[in-house]
Amino acid sequence: MSENKKWYSLDLGLNKTKKSSGTCGCGNAEGSCSSTPKKEEELSPDEFYEAAINASIGEERHKDGFDQVFDVKMDRRSAFRKLTASLLIGAGAVSTSCSVTTGDKSKEKAQIDWEEQFKGNYKLMTDEEKQGTIERLMRSYELRTDKNISMTAENAAEDVLFGYAFNISKCQGYMNCVSACVEENNQDRNSEMQYIRIHEMKDGEGFKFDKADDNYYHEVPAEGHFYMGTQCFHCDNPPCVEVCPVQATWKEEDGLVVIDYDWCVGCRYCMAACPYDGRRFNWSKPEVPENEVNKNQHYLGNRMRKKGVMEKCTFCVQRTRKGKNPACVEACPTGARIFGNLLDPKSTIRWVLENKKVFRLKEDLGTEPKFWYFMD
């Protein structure tokens, strides 16, 4: 973990524990090992109280009278932070620390929760801080479920700008892409959230989304119909990013429009701003059966979300930043989906853009989607 963090550190003495348990060979995280002097690591309730107060209000307690109130530099965010801090300390940390029966595990959990609560916006994090947060999230998952996940924080590669093309004449409406997407991206199974919609449209009527059916269940392709899919188009000029009041969503260097689920406040402005219905909201706590969880995760991609945050297609950032195709592209049985690097003149997506007659949805809005449609 980096030393110059942008948030307060609550040290429950766990860093020390880690070092000492490293030297001891019993390998047991919980319970004590005879060679470890246990007394030193545990703070007495009084000491903890002191440390907690210090962490939450710091120097203010040394000021007196007037100064306590007026001689403080505080904006709304930090005021809010401090309020939450005291709540958290009151409710969580103190109880774990004061309890005699609490093990190292729950203390570690409290430590992680603390660090996670006060970490910064992912967009502003240094690579070290990014590494720190994914390590905490992996450890936290392990502590809660006894299972391991692998999470990465790969940054955008140089000379890469992702683009997508969809062949309307090829799509047959089998919806393999939809279920592959749900499985890959750990979407909530209860509300059956889906990023991709496949629209069944009548031949000869053109694109009429209000008359199209995106939840058909009959043999496909149906006579007299054609199919086309929509999802997040990863606009180069994304209106959803403009409206976010807390900058929890932004465009990455490789063109992916992503969300920091831990920074999102759930106002759903972005959902309203998106002209393509690309964004989804978690009205309830997303749940995925443990054996169905995709454990290859990315911080900005398919890691588990929580209630009250936005999510959306990320072009499978956990796959594409490793050179793979998104799950929908791989699952499509008809080859209607083409994905690639727009900046590489030799890529197939570039060939499509240069040789086929391509168009995008609602081009006149100036959103510059990086998702083109074409026909044979």
Partner: protein
Amino acid sequence: MKNRTLIYYVVLLLGISLFSCKEKDGYHSISDKIEGESRPYHGNLSSEDLLMDTELIQITEGEFTFLIPERKGQIKSFACIECHSKPVSQMKGTTAQKAHWDITLNHANSDAMDCATCHNGEDMNSLNTLTGKNIDFNLSYKLCAQCHSSQFEDWKGGAHGKKVAGWAPPRASNTCVNCHNPHSPSFETRWPVQYNTQKGIERKEGLDH
């Protein structure tokens, strides 16, 4: 005095043209951006690791050079001459057990195509062009390209068909027979793999638009 106004206007015009047209990253549109920032990709990302498990061969068609999956190793009954030791004409009518009973040709109509359009009765180990030249089973796409020329163009460029692993170079594309059964190449109708019950309920209750 007149000169001064002129200079003033020129400066103003310059100023406007300098500042007003600037987009955030200096481009008006995504196509400008693609053009402006295009350069051959020389990154660390590569699909080579992803392609390790697939046996591939390199082909060059026109200006395109890419990989396709090897085919002969995937055909269970290859090599064909293990049974077809004699030309087909001589094997017909013998009492030997019937083979290939599971293949029915459902490809174009019988006036246009029969087995001999692609297979060479004299040399079963290779395929046969319309003009009677031998084609290796690994390069069967050359046969398809004889009639399906527009699909062939799209496939070479990358608009038709699927990639083997990822977007990163080197490019490896599935060949025709990896998706299409050459004896019955069109896709069949079937049920979608999923139905969204929640969406169904919401629509029924009028919660959705």
